[in-house]
């Protein structure tokens, strides 16, 4: 009876080996079709105007296009300039309020929904302007007064006033996507999972909690993409994504957060980390209406107490993110590096003493979300502030609660990160214009958490200025004023990152910021190619 345990062990080993063999992807199916496998999260809809989720915005870029697109210059994708996409050319009136777009001829919608016409453009913008249920980006189009269909290939858009960033609003991003009028009317509420656009890929099927399958649009006007199918998997855990990338189950993964550990694993397995600017900028807004922060000495002390370099070195080591150099991040029109307050706890203490707080003070019930990098930054900052005597008592809350509370002005200084249309006009308006100061009384849900009103005049001038150089100068001055008044401390610019298996997928752009994209993914997914 002696061999029996060995027999059992043998069977067990065999079972494990057989199991492992089954885990390997079947090579036969991959050889026939070119399938790009992406591990991300499941989108909530594929209606491009109805979701602010990152994964949805990334995926709809495959399906839809806008009148214009972000320009490719010297092999790099920029986000401050545009070039023709669905529109072949455009003209603008003397006073800058009437835009006439000539559409590209012969652009076909997916699944036989016919040729793109001016009616589709009008419909796509108007459904948002009319605040159709669920649309999220109407605010970005509010400048439009009227849309007229001149002929099937010409559309005229009249603005309420001159808008220096109007062309950016027509880019294929959020409000700018053009959908098929026929399909939208036919499917109604069901359009979200019956999407029809003009992009390089069309929607094939959705397996809930598993994947979304897209197929190449053979009539795509810039030519059919090389990839036959895109399988967009719903994978919640970063660890699962990394194993999948290593084993060849996935070709591209988008981790929830790219830590040094994730970077290390990606490099070890020979994959490439594609970094795309401008990404999000984490920064503190200091509410200058809230004591004791209404004293500029306290605000300056706060800024000198924070060791921004240590935050970047701890959370994003090895160049994973960049130390912020301005309240308007690089990649936005009008950005200029401005002087940042140095880390100097001694000076901070001195300033606090001058302001009447020689022993510092206590900030009770400071709310911070549990999501993304927010709690991590705050834990670091809490310890740094403690060194100068500012004692912050953290209260961890869920992300929606955090967003509600910061708009009720419950935090005297607010940590916030985000991406906006890449022009200082949009960015500064949303974050520093007095009209955007959140106020629970009036229901203002704006994002000017500093309650700043020092650059309203510059922003108004910017709206009137046609000369880009002069306009940029105004924003430069605005950035300097923001730092002078010590109402915002930019900390770090974190790029959007995804990991790619270079043996499977090639990208025409440099992994190191070769692309700027607001979509949280590749700007031109059709330019990705699979290695045979």
């Amino acid at each position: 009876m002696a061999p029996k345990p060995w027999l059992r062990l043998g069977v067990a080993v065999l079972a494990v080996v057989a199991g492992l063999a089954l885990l390997q992807p079947a090579p036969a199916s991959a050889a026939r079709k070119q399938i790009l496998r992406i591990a991300h999260k499941e989108p909530d809809t594929l209606d491009p105007h109805k979701s602010i989720l990152g994964q949805t915005q990334a995926l709809v870029r495959f399906i839809y296009r806008g009148l214009t697109r972000f320009a490719i210059k010297d092999g790099k994708v920029t986000t401050a300039e545009v070039e023709p996409d669905l529109a072949e050319s455009w003209t603008v009136s003397e006073d800058g309020t009437v835009w006439t777009f000539k559409l590209r001829k012969g652009v076909q919608f997916h699944k036989g929904f016919g040729e793109l016409t001016a009616e589709d453009v009008k419909y796509s913008y108007e459904r948002q302007l009319q605040r159709e249920k669920g649309t999220r980006f109407a605010k970005n189009l509010d400048v439009i007064k009227e849309i007229t269909v001149v002929d099937p290939y010409t559309v005229r858009i009249t603005l309420k006033a001159y808008d220096p960033v109007f062309l950016l609003r027509t880019v294929g991003y959020q409000q700018g996507y053009i959908i098929s009028k026929k399909a939208a009317e036919q499917y109604g509420d069901q359009f979200g999972w019956n999407p029809v656009g003009t992009g390089p890929f069309y929607f094939h099927e959705h397996l809930p909690r598993e994947k979304v399958v897209l197929k190449a649009h053979k009539d795509y006007y810039f030519g059919r993409p090389q990839i036959d199918e895109v399988h967009w998997f719903d994978v919640p855990e970063d660890a699962t994504k990394l194993i999948g990338l290593e084993k060849g189950t996935f070709d591209i993964i988008v981790p929830n957060t790219v830590t040094a550990d994730v970077k290390g694993q990606v490099e070890k397995m020979g994959a490439v980390l594609d970094k795309r600017g401008p990404g999000g900028q984490y920064r503190f807004y200091i509410n200058w209406t809230k004591p004791p922060f209404n004293d500029i000495r306290v605000r300056r002390a706060f800024m000198h107490a924070i060791d921004r370099q240590a935050i970047v070195d701890t959370l994003w080591p090895g160049g994973l993110a960049n130390l912020a150099i301005s309240p308007v991040p690089p990649g936005y029109f009008g950005h200029i590096p401005v002087e940042m307050p140095e880390y100097n706890p001694e000076l901070a203490k001195k300033l606090l003493a001058e302001a009447g707080y020689p022993n510092g003070f206590k900030v009770e019930n400071y709310f911070i979300t549990k999501s993304f990098a927010y709690p991590k930054i705050m834990v670091l900052v809490q310890e740094q502030l403690k060194k100068v005597g500012i004692d912050v008592q953290l209260q961890l809350v869920e992300h929606p609660t955090y967003h509600r509370n910061i708009r009720k002005n419950l935090n005297p200084f607010v940590l916030y990160g985000g991406t906006r249309l890449t022009d200082a006009d949009v960015w500064l308006h949303l974050f520093f214009h007095s009209g955007e100061a959140p106020d629970p009384e009036t229901g203002n849900m704006g994002t000017n958490f500093a309650h700043y009103n020092g650059i309203d005049d510059l922003l108004a001038q910017g709206r009137q200025t046609r000369d880009p150089e002069k306009r940029a100068k105004l924003y430069h001055e605005a950035q300097r004023r923001i730092m002078r008044d010590a109402v915002c401390l930019p900390i770090v610019d974190v790029p959007n990152m995804s990991a790619r298996n270079p043996k499977r997928v090639k990208s025409p752009f440099d992994p190191e910021y070769g692309e700027f994209a607001l979509h949280y993914f590749y700007n031109y997914p059709e330019m990705l190619t699979l290695v045979q």
């Binding site: 970063d238 660890a239 830590t259 040094a260 550990d261 290390g264 694993q265 060791d307 240590a310 070195d313 701890t314 959370l315 080591p317 549990k370 709690p375 991590k376 705050m378 834990v379 670091l380 809490q382 310890e383 403690k386 008592q393 953290l394 209260q395 961890l396």
Partner: protein, 304 residues
Amino acid sequence: MALTEKKAVQGFPAVGIAQLEERWRRSLRGRNRRKYIPIAIGMLMVLTMVVVALLAPYIAPFSPSAQYADYVLKAPGAGGKHLLGTDEYGRDLLSRIIWGTRVSLQVGLASVCVGFVLGVPLGIMAGFLRGSTEAMIMRFTDMMLAFPTLLLALIIVTALGGSLINEILAIGVALMPNFIRLARSLALTIRENDYIMAARAIGGSHLRIMLRHVFPNAVSTLVVIATLYIATAIRTEAGLSFLGLGVPPPTPSWGNILSEGRQYIKCCPWLTTFSGFAIMLAVLAFNLMGDALRDLLDPRLRGE
């Protein structure tokens, strides 16, 4: 004690006092001495925990919240000064685990006290008064028992917000039904005793009888069981912290060290290993002590 006398008589009707004494002596020599080993180990571990918690500021090599940007996620022994390595903020893990003992012990002891203080009076009332009082209290208890302890604590903490006090209250309330049931069952047995009838006969009020006769006779058993629930409380605290509902940062607790370490489990397993080990040891200590105490104080073995 009256209760045990009665049981002993019922259990061993033919055994005389002399034989009982002989049995007691024999058991002390042999099997019973071995019983003291787990209780000794358990008590020693608990004592160590208490000492570590009390002396945390003197024992811990670093401040538990001090961050060292050049020592992020370093393995045990890094730089010859971080014995158990460092976490994602460059904080010393050993110091954090030592300080975490405080939170665990505080929550463990305080929440059991809360559960005891809230649950025992209700349980004794239910068991002693019977009738509609009992029905009301017990149906309420059944309702609470329908939720697992962790889930109940989770609901309460979510409603109140995460802080040390709220955590203690939440776990205390979550443990309450266990104490109610136990106290009731003890009261049910005790109320049938002759001395209770005697107390009634001389005109003792319900309150007086419950306070002076029922509670003192139940308290030893209750305390032993409470020891066991300390382990449950520590586990629940770790669970809450792990789910992000425990003490807010930067206060270290074993649960949130474990939770923060989870995302680094592949590169830096020391974070989860050592904090998990600390939780395991603490639970083991209280379980050993509680189990041994229960065996030791089992009425049938207290032959006198």
